[in-house]
């Protein structure tokens, strides 16, 4: 019993020595950094789960185009329209079946949302509807009206976040997810691998990959080595140090933004000049191609450039230590305690080389006269400092954090990070609050313009934080595979986008 793995292995060994050798041409192996705890579809917005499930097993009503400029595209919904009064009508695709054979219809959509909102199960996607009440009206099998209270202008976009399960799916954590996607989960050996195999009765185009095996290795060097040794075909997350082979290794923006959150309530951070000095003190360019990979961009907003309302006019703050010193001196002259200790708090393993980034930043801040120290903490402790309520009796803190928004709309970021009620906000500015509320309720060009204004106001006028970088990721893709990673590869990896050379 105890040695069953080994014994099983002996039998296996007679047929195959290296697994990749035994694969037929259209089977692939993907090596991920983090194992899946769950395969529950309603948790698919969590990136480690989404990478396997999203659009492979479970599909959503709508889908955001990350390869082209098509914006929001139909998936399980063929079309949608705003009926006014906060109600959106979705026309559902016909002839779609779940992998258990049942047909997809409007009741399944309603049930999927009921599961998300149930208190019997914890679903991540619930947070996107935090202050919104949804009511569902099944018009017919292929039509459903969804009314949001208050009105939600981006409801179709939010539909990219909710995976559809059949109405038979129980309201408990699923271990055998049933979906409409092109693949079914055929094996889940906890700790070892998850295997997806292609369905024959998928509604859409048959993807090229017939079988995908996911394995999990937390050591980046090993992930890279596996592709090199032919044991795996795709390693979506490798490090800059490993990504040295131009033939196989891709670098691409990964929708993550790194910034220093300023808590303005603590001296001396309430002073604008001090915040400007912080920004001027940091030589952002120096990081790129050294500690951080070539291709990393300087951030001017909390969201990546692919997001709605992107303000192309914004410039990263110039590195100007002299100006920083002047600003500090001016603040000090007004009685601001610029010599107060500042803690730069960062989370270990938040992103590659986070410690080094922290060390350099502290050095740069101290070079212009701040008294900064670095404090590296593990995830649970980081969380304490990141979200409200902030700990009592804290000194001035610059919290280094990484924020991911690949959803296309700033709404997923701005409220939390800048609104005075936002859980990770260090800002308390009526104009910011107003702009966020207006933009959230607006649609179309007006929405884009309002976001654009907010980005500029936050970055230039109030200097709310120290925006640092839009990060890049590195993937290694085996030579026989034709696949180009995108900004979304962090949170989803559609097998249908993979073909063979």
């Amino acid at each position: 019993m105890l040695f069953k793995h080994l014994l099983g292995g002996v039998l296996l060994a007679s047929t195959s020595i290296v697994p990749a050798m035994a694969q037929t041409n259209t089977d692939i192996t993907v090596v991920l950094s983090e194992e899946l705890d769950l395969v529950e579809p309603c948790m698919a917005t969590r990136s480690n789960i989404g990478r396997v499930i999203m659009q492979n097993i479970s599909e959503t009503l709508t889908e955001l185009d990350v390869r082209g400029d098509a914006g929001l595209m139909p998936r399980l919904a063929e079309s949608w329209e705003d009926l006014g009064n906060g109600t959106w009508q979705f026309k559902l695709r016909q002839g779609v079946t779940f992998s258990d054979g049942t047909t997809f219809d409007a009741a399944d959509v309603k049930h999927s949302f009921d599961r998300v909102f149930s208190d019997q199960i914890t679903c991540e996607s619930k947070r996107y509807f935090a202050d919104t009440a949804l009511t569902f009206n099944i018009v017919d099998d292929n039509t459903i009206d969804i009314r949001a209270e208050p009105a939600q202008p981006i409801l179709p976009l939010l539909m990219t976040l909710v995976t559809i399960v059949p109405s038979e799916a129980p309201v408990e954590v699923l271990r055998e997810p049933i979906g409409t996607g092109p693949y079914v989960m055929s094996e889940w050996a906890a700790g070892q691998q998850i295997v997806l195999t292609r369905r024959d009765d998928y509604w859409g185009t048959q993807p090229a990959v017939t079988k995908a095996t996911y394995v999990f290795r937390s050591e980046p060097a090993v992930r890279a080595a596996m592709v090199e040794a032919g044991e795996a075909d795709i390693a979506p997350q490798i490090t800059q140090e490993e990504a040295t082979n131009p033939a196989t290794d891709f670098t691409y923006p990964n929708s993550e933004t790194v910034y220093l959150r300023i808590d303005q309530t603590i001296e001396p951070m309430g002073d604008l000049r001090v915040r400007q000095a912080l920004n001027a003190a940091i030589d952002r360019e120096a990081f790129i191609g050294t500690v951080l990979a070539e291709g990393t961009e300087l951030a001017v907003a909390m969201v990546p450039p692919t997001t709605l309302g992107w303000n192309a006019d914004l410039e990263p703050p110039a590195f100007d230590p002299e100006k920083a010193k002047e600003l500090l001196a001016a603040a000090a002259a007004d009685g601001i305690n610029t010599g107060a200790p500042i803690e730069v708090i960062a989370r270990t393993e938040n992103f590659p080389h986070v410690t080094e980034v922290g060390e350099v930043i502290v050095q740069m801040l101290n070079d212009v006269g701040f008294k900064a120290t670095l404090r590296m903490v593990e995830v649970a402790e980081h969380e304490q400092y990141y979200s409200k309520p902030y700990p009592e009796g804290r000194v001035a803190q610059l919290l280094m954090a990484q924020h991911d928004n690949s959803r296309g709309d700033p709404v997923f970021s701005m409220y939390f990070k800048y609104h005075s009620q936002g859980t990770q906000s260090g800002v308390n500015d009526p104009k910011v609050d107003e702009l966020i509320e207006k933009a959230t309720a607006a649609t179309g060009d007006e929405r884009a313009a309002l976001w654009s204004e907010l980005f500029a106001y936050v970055q230039k006028e109030i200097v709310a934080d120290v925006l640092l970088f839009h990060m890049v990721g590195h993937s290694r893709v085996g030579e026989r595979i034709d696949f180009k990673p995108t900004i979304a590869t962090n949170s989803q990896l559609q097998l249908s986008e993979i073909s063979f050379k």
Binding site: L2, K4, G9, I17, T122, R127, G191, Q192, S218, T423
Partner: protein, 304 residues
């Protein structure tokens, strides 16, 4: 002997109880699992629902009562992260850790005993010094060095072995080899020291006067006498292996208890932490009892 084992078992159960209480309360000092399970921008309401769903909103003493009550029904609770019974998660990991630990320990035992005994027999010689230095270097070198260098050499350069993972016996070679180094380094020293004193014992003289050959002299007459201190150290090392081998599991993608335990601690998955610790503790207690039995088997004087 049976009485002794019975006493040990009762004492072990009491220790286990103490361990459980200690871990239960200490682990709950380390923060709220809700904020770790839910995304960073989850609402307070979601957190409250999560806590209510898993009973984390109740007073801690009540939680403890419920836990003990369930435990009496052999229910170890569910994993917060994995939404599965914690005991399943832990036992699954254990079916990997146990053979890994046992095979490694068996190899260490054989190698350390043979090399340590030979080193002691020719004490001060070239072989002796070589064994000492190599084992000490091995025991103090960072294990991830060895692991990654081994992957580069054996998997990438030579292509002899798979880089990582499980499945075939070949997959076990590198993890076992890397795990082998440290306990081997320690135990070979202990064997050498213990053999040195045993070789000076009077009965060795008797054996030589009987005309016993060198090999049985070392491996039959002396070794069994030298084994007692060796077994104690081996027990400690085996206990460490039974606790999981985090680095090796992490690098080689080996789904053992060490990585599970670390992840569960960092994610505050209390039920898994508790279950893993208790299962490990039971394994260690059983091993300690086996060691006591081994003492008795090896040395008849202890049997009484």
């Amino acid at each position: 002997m049976t009485k002794m084992i019975g006493q040990r078992a009762i004492a072990s159960l009491l220790s286990l109880l103490g361990l459980m209480i200690l871990v239960f309360f200490l682990s709950r000092l380390t923060g709220d699992p809700a904020v770790l399970f839910l995304p960073i921008d989850a609402t307070e309401q979601m957190k409250e629902e999560f806590r209510a769903l898993h009973g984390l909103d109740r007073p801690i003493i009540e939680q403890f009562g419920a836990y003990v009550w369930d435990l009496l029904h052999l229910d170890f609770g569910d994993s917060l992260r994995k939404a599965r019974p914690a005991i399943d998660v832990v036992l699954e990991a254990y079916t990997w850790t146990l053979p890994l630990a046992l095979i490694t320990m068996a190899l260490v035992m054989v190698a350390a005993i043979v090399l340590g005994a030979l080193a002691a027999f020719k004490v001060g010689g070239f072989f002796d010094r070589l064994v000492s230095i190599v084992s000490l270097v091995g025991a103090s070198a960072p294990d991830f060095w060895i692991a990654i260098v081994a992957i580069v050499i054996f998997s990438i350069n030579f292509g002899w072995l798979p880089t990582s993972g499980v499945g075939t016996p070949l997959h076990w070679v590198l993890p076992i080899a890397v795990l082998f180094i440290r306990p081997f380094g320690l135990i070979v020293q202990v064997v050498r020291g213990s053999m040195l004193s045993a070789l000076g014992a009077a009965y060795v003289k008797t054996a030589r006067a009987k005309g016993v050959k060198n090999r049985p002299l070392i491996f039959v007459h002396t070794l069994r006498n030298a084994m007692l201190p060796v077994i104690t150290v081996m027990g400690d090392q085996a206990a460490a292996l039974l606790n999981g081998a985090v680095i090796v599991e992490t690098i080689f993608g080996f789904p053992g208890i060490g990585k599970l335990m670390i992840d569960s601690i960092l994610q505050r998955d209390f039920n898994v932490v508790l279950t893993a610790i208790m299962v490990t503790a039971i394994a260690i207690f059983i091993m300690n009892i086996l060691i006591d039995i081994a003492y008795g088997v090896l040395d008849p004087r202890i049997r009484q």
